[in-house]
Structure formats: C-alpha cells, structure tokens
C-alpha cells in the first residue's frame, strides 16, 4: 500500500526542509534567496495536499496549519514561508467556495453592512466533501508556482520606466531582485550605481562585482559615507527581506540610515519587492522583529581581553517606517506604501493572519 510509505516519505521531506531552514538562516547571509524558499515551501505544500490523508477542506487546512506552525517556528525570521502557507490556505478557501457554488466573497473585510445583514459571523466549517477539490487545489498551487517563477522577470521588465540615462542610483547590500532590475535597465541605458557595502557581512561587494561585470559603472563605498555621497544621488533602489502590513520594511541593517538620508535630500526611495514578501505582521512585536548573530562579526575574538568587558550587538535587520518610502515595485506593478493594506486583503484571509 503506498499510503504509509507516502506518509513517511512526506514526513521525511518536511523534516529535511525544516533542518535546511534552520541551517540556512544563519546571519552570514541567506544561503538561498527568498524566492527559492518560497518555491520550495509551495512545492512542499503541494506535496502535502497530494499525499496527506484528508477528506474535507477543513482537514486539509488543519494539516497545513499544523505543519505551517512547525515550519515557521524553525526559522521565525524567514517570513516567506509563512506567507506562502497563508496563500495556500486562501487558495483552499477559494476552491472550496467555488466548489460549493456560493458566490465568492471577494470582500473579506468586515463591514458594518455585512454585520447587519448576515447577523453574526458566517459559520463556514468546511466540512463538505468534494471529489474535485484536491485536483482544483493542486492546479491552483501550480498556478501559484508559475507566478513565483516569473516574479523577478516581471519586476525587471519595469526597470526602464523608472531609470533614465545618466542617473546615479544608490543601493545597499545585495538583493537579487535589484540586481536583475538594474541589469535589465543597463541593456538600454547608461547610468552609474553606488553600492554601500553593508558591514559586517559586506554583501555589497558581491553586488558590485556582479553589476560591474554586466558593464554598469559601479562604485563601492563604506557605510559611513552614505550621507556624504547622498547629495549626488538621483534615486535609491533597495530590496528588502519583508514588507510589513503597515507598509514598512524589515530590511538589512543600515537601510534606515539610508532612508533617512534620502528623505533629507528628497531623493525617492524605491523598494523592489515581489508579492510573496508581503507579510501580515506588524512591527510592534519586539521580540520577534530583531534577529541577532554572533558578535564575532563585529568584534572578532582576536581583540582579546576587552571582549569580556564589552557588550557587542550585531543586529541583522532594520525597521524602515512607511513615511520614508516612495514606491513599491512588485511583480504586479507599482504601488504607494499606503496601498499595501489592500493588497494584503487580496492575498490573505484575515483569519489566517495567526497561523
């Protein structure tokens, strides 16, 4: 019987994914980009849908939630995992609603009118069984996967609308999305890029070598010179780790300084972030917001005696408030930070915000 084998195979795969996440999430830079994480999570969820035992949509959602909680607990800072899980849950809800034939509730927001007319929360217990549900859900997940494949290209296609010739663009650290964005624009236009190296991981160096190999005039500066050179910069284009629910960012450390300097010089700050980075978290959660890595990066052990008498901090992320951001560029187009809440309601169901 393929059943138990499938199950052990499934659990094996989940365990492998979990340990990968735990290892890969160390502060020395993600060993895998967030796009890969998103794709792997979605593929894993598809496998769970296909191989796990469930009879109704409610069961499926329970299984996904349970596994989802485990996976997010393994690496809380890797928010794309949680985002993908919520997307899949929304897919399941939609497919269920469509199978039932009820009109799709496109507006998930609670409104006064709905409260009055429906007379209390609608009880959807997802208990009905539909034979075609499995196939539909898997098809929808495949669509999601194709969307994920094309995010970087979709963002890069918009590059020419935002970069004119002879511009000076500033960026910080290393983001594959921004790299593709700039390389696409460089095919048709000539411009100059300044990369802030982003100590202590110095990922800016990799970014600069890669951009200069594509023929773009690149300059590497130290983090301390960000404000000094900002007066000559026309645009700031950055990537981010997460886009928060209020339109703010959780980005690599040093981004807040960059954003403040851009605001002081009235330079537009453009964030290239694909939709799977949008997360329903808010920045108030102090204990889960910041992630710290070994202080060895900042003050190495060779410094000797003073190490025992000094506190050393090495945070990985920075919070950037939405007032400092001018534009978000995602795979579905450009948006202002004030529109993010709306996009979130389209992607996730409010009940899934807490897994």
């Amino acid at each position: 019987m393929p059943g138990p084998d499938k199950e052990t195979d499934l659990t094996e795969r989940i365990e492998a994914f979990l340990s990968d996440l735990k290892r890969g999430g160390s502060g020395t830079g993600p060993l895998r980009g967030s796009a890969e994480t998103a794709r792997e999570t979605t593929a894993l969820l598809r496998r769970i849908t296909a191989q796990a035992r469930w009879s109704s949509a409610g069961d499926l959602m329970e299984i996904i939630r349970k596994e989802g909680r485990r996976i997010t607990a393994a690496q809380p800072s890797e928010t794309t995992v949680g985002n993908m899980i919520r997307r899949v849950l929304k897919i399941v809800r939609e497919e269920y609603a469509r199978s039932r034939g009820s009109s799709e509730e496109t507006d998930q927001q609670e409104s006064l009118h709905k409260l009055l007319t429906s007379g209390g929360l609608s009880e959807e217990n997802f208990r009905q069984h539909f034979a075609t549900l499995k196939a539909n859900v898997i098809e929808a997940i495949n669509e999601l996967l194709t969307e994920l494949e094309g995010t970087t290209d979709n963002i890069a296609m918009q590059a020419l609308e935002h970069i004119h010739s002879n511009e000076v663009i500033m960026t910080i650290g290393r983001s594959r999305t921004v790299e593709a964005f700039l390389k696409d624009a460089a095919r048709k236009r000539k411009f100059h890029v300044i990369v802030a190296e982003c100590a202590p991981f110095c990922q800016g160096h990799e970014m600069a070598t890669s951009l200069s190999k594509a023929g773009i005039e690149t300059t590497v500066i130290a983090d301390a010179a960000i404000f000094a050179v900002m007066s000559r910069v026309n645009k700031v284009i950055i990537g981010t780790q997460t886009v928060l629910a209020n339109g703010g960012l959780r980005a690599v450390n040093g981004t807040h300084t960059l954003a403040l300097a851009a605001k002081h010089h009235s330079t537009p700050l453009i964030v290239c972030a694909p939709m799977f980075k949008l997360s329903p978290q808010f920045p108030n959660e102090e204990d889960t917001f910041h992630k710290f890595v070994s202080p060895h990066e900042v003050l190495p052990f060779t410094e000797g005696e003073i190490l025992s008498k000094v506190n050393v901090h090495c945070p990985v992320f920075d919070y950037v408030p939405p007032e400092l951001i001018t534009l978000f560029i995602s795979n579905i187009g450009g948006h202002a930070p004030s529109y993010i809440y709306r996009l979130m309601s389209e992607l996730y169901h409010p009940e899934d915000h807490e897994l």
Binding site: A199, C202, V220, A228, L260, E303
Partner: protein, 503 residues
Amino acid sequence: IKEEKQRLRKEKKQQKKNKEKKDEKASHESEKKKNKEEKPVSAAAPASQPPTQPSTQKAVPAPAPVPVPVSETPALADKPAKTKADLKAERRARQEAERASKQAATSKPKAPPNELQPVVKRLPEHVQVDNPGVLKKLAKKLERQQIPLRLDYGYKVSLFSHLHQYSRKAPLTQQLSIPSTVIHPAIVRLGLQYSQGIVAGSNARSVALLHAFKQVIRDYTTPPNEELSRDLVNKLKPYISFLSQCRPLSASMGNAIKYIKKEISNIPSQCKEEEAKRKLLSCIDCYIDEKIILAAKAIAKSSIEKISNGDVILVYGCSSLVNHILCEAFEKNIKFRVIVVDSRPRLEGREALRRLVQRGISCTYVLISAVSYILPEVSKVFLGAHALLANGYVMSRVGTSQIALVAKAFNVPVLVCCETYKFCERVQTDSFVSNELDDPDDLIVTRKGKTQLEHWQDVPSLGLLNLVYDVTPPDFVDLVITDLGMIPCTSVPVVLRVKNVDQ
C-alpha cells in the same frame, strides 16, 4: 583675478628694472601691502620688511600667486623689453602715474584689519588635481625644493577627479635619496608616520608637527649674511611641501604653521641666535599648552555639566578630546555608560573602546549600520571635530554627519566638542569639493576565505571610494563646546573675528 595676476606680473618686471626709482618702490610697497592683505594664506613675510635686497624679492613672492613663473618671466622679458625700452618706459611711467593717483584716492580699502577685508584666498593645490597647469607648477616647485612628487594610484571615481588618491604601500620616502640634505630627518620621519597612518587624529598630528619643528629649530644655524627671521621661514617651506605630499595638511596643522611663521617673522633682527631659538621654542610650548592641553581641560569642565547620572552616551570613532571628557567625567563619579560606534575601513572605534574600558567605563560596541537599532537607548551624542568651518558646518571623520542625522530623527541631542584652534575660515557645503581620498585597497575584505574585490583594478567599470572626511550641516548639531564656552554652530565666524582682532 586674471587681470590682477597680469598686472602683478607687469609690476614685477618693472621692479626688476627700475629698482633705483624711489617712487616706483613706494608704489610697489603699497601694492605689495594691498596684495598681501588680499592673500594672507601665502603671506610669509610681514609688510614691515623693506624690499631693498633684490635677492629677497624672489624669496618674498607673497603677493604673487605663483612664485616660480613670475620670477622666471622677468628674466626672459628683460631682453626683448630692452630693445623697445623707450615705448615701454613711457607706458610704464603713465601707468605708474595712474596707479599712484588711484591709490592716493582710494587709500581707505587698505585700512587696518578691524574693517571687513575682501579675503580672496588662493585655491589650494590639493583640490585642483584635474587642472594640468596647476600640476605642472607644483611639479616645478617640488623640483626646485628637491622633493619627490607623489603619484596617484588606482581608478578614481569621476566625482572626485579633482582630488589626490595615494596608495599607502608607496610612501614618499621610498623616492627620497639617502641622505637627504634638503629635508630634516625629523620631518622625514613625521611624513612617513602621517602617510602610514601611525599618527592620526587632528590633535595628534598638530602636536607631532610642532615637536618636529622644535627639533628643526634646535638644529638650525643661521647661515652668514642671512637673517634668522627670513631664512628660517624659507627653510620651513620645503618641509611643509614634503609633509603635504605625504598627507594633505589638516586645518589645525595649517593654523599651527601660520602661528609659527608669524612668530618667526616677528623676531627682531638684532636678536642673538641662541636667544631667538629659545624664544621660539618657548612660543611653541606655550601654543601647545594653551591651545591644546588647557583647552581640553576647559572643555572637559564645561562638558561635565552636561553629563548626568544614568546617561547613555554615544560616541563615534576615536576623538582624543571626547575620550578625555569621558574619562574626566568618570573620575568625578558620574554614573553613565557609553556606546562606541565604529565604521569600516578604519575601525578607529576599537582604539577608543580600549581606552575607555581600561578606565573601567562600561561600554557597548556596534558598527555604524546598527545605529538606528541602538539609538532609542541613547540619551546624548558626543562628537569630535576635525575643523569647524566659517559657515557653521562641522568637518569631521566620515560617518559623523550620518550619526547626527539619525540622532536628529530620534530627537537625541548632539554635542560637538572642538578647540578654537581648529576653527578655520573656509566655507564648504558638501563633502565633495574638498576632501581626502584614502587608499582604496582598504575597502577590500576577506570573508569566509573569499575576497570579492581582490581584482577590482582589472574590472574597468568598478571603482572603490574611501572618503576620509565629511561635513555636517549646522541644523543637526545642537551645541558646540569650545574652550571659549558653549556656542551654537552658527557662532563660529564670530569667534574667528574675535580671534583675528586679538592677534
């Protein structure tokens, strides 16, 4: 300015020919005086010097913007001019008459220094690297002084093509012949210490410079038929060129050199050599004591009033003055803790950290990219300065303006501590026009066995930029603590004016 230069050149030519004519001498003196007031930076000799000796006229080219070609062109112009002597003499006589009448009419602008002076300074050479004419003149000057010219290194970012960029691995001393008869060995050692970064920080550099000059004065003997006041100043010029080739002079060093030159020139000619040397040495000691050591004590006293119990103080990099203040405050048993912010590639904060931890102050250490994480805990920011410019901008180590910006965003007060001898009359609004470019190879780092930027020179479109200074706008700074008291940033030109009147 070009017309002025041409006019001056013409005058120099006349000077060489008609030395005996007294009226021309008189007009030259007044011209010289006027030009000396216009260009005080290069003023090596005071106006009191009688321009009698022809040899000194070359050595006292203070009014001329470029001494070398001017002294050369009269020699060349002599021969053709003699053939057209009559016409030229007529024209010159007419010009002299006009000039004399103009000067008689407009004697007011050359008034005593209390009134506002149109101070038009010559642009320093080290910010005109993109001008080949200036570079040629500098090369000629250095050749004359027998100092090797230092060559630029590496690809320079186009925005900074007007500045020098040297490599630390090629110090100037490698090009010097041994033994060097022109440059005193103490100066050679000092130049090497500057270029390798062994002596760094504006106070340290100034004190080292003054000590080296003391050594030079001790070893100096006046040659026969020369006056100490003039000859010593001329001896110092090649040393200063050498030091500025090793590393561009800082504002504090510039002020110290001006002071020394003034003291030397003020030595009366009948003073005996031993006595003169003794006087100069005591002047230098006095300067160091007053302007640096006592000033630090005064600043520490005022700053300690600003530090209260339970404070969390943020400092950036290694400023000798700020470290002194914190140690003094700790001696007075004020309970506070310090956060030291550091930045690549210099990592000077580690030195400050060591000094503070040795005293027993509890410290935290972060890199500059983590400043917005740590700033909510901070109650005050203390910054040191390299120089304070006349428009209120603070010139300091790169990264200072960033810290002031983020502190302002979090509403944390920013206090700058600076002695008055670092105040300078320049004005600047951004960090590009006048800066220092350090060795670009410093940015290269090896992490996990991989050096990403190792072969940056082979990639044609890649450049590394290692700035040393930046300017902080005065609206980010809340208070400047100086030895004259606590002033806002915008009062710097007032202090400068008061100092000039005193002198």
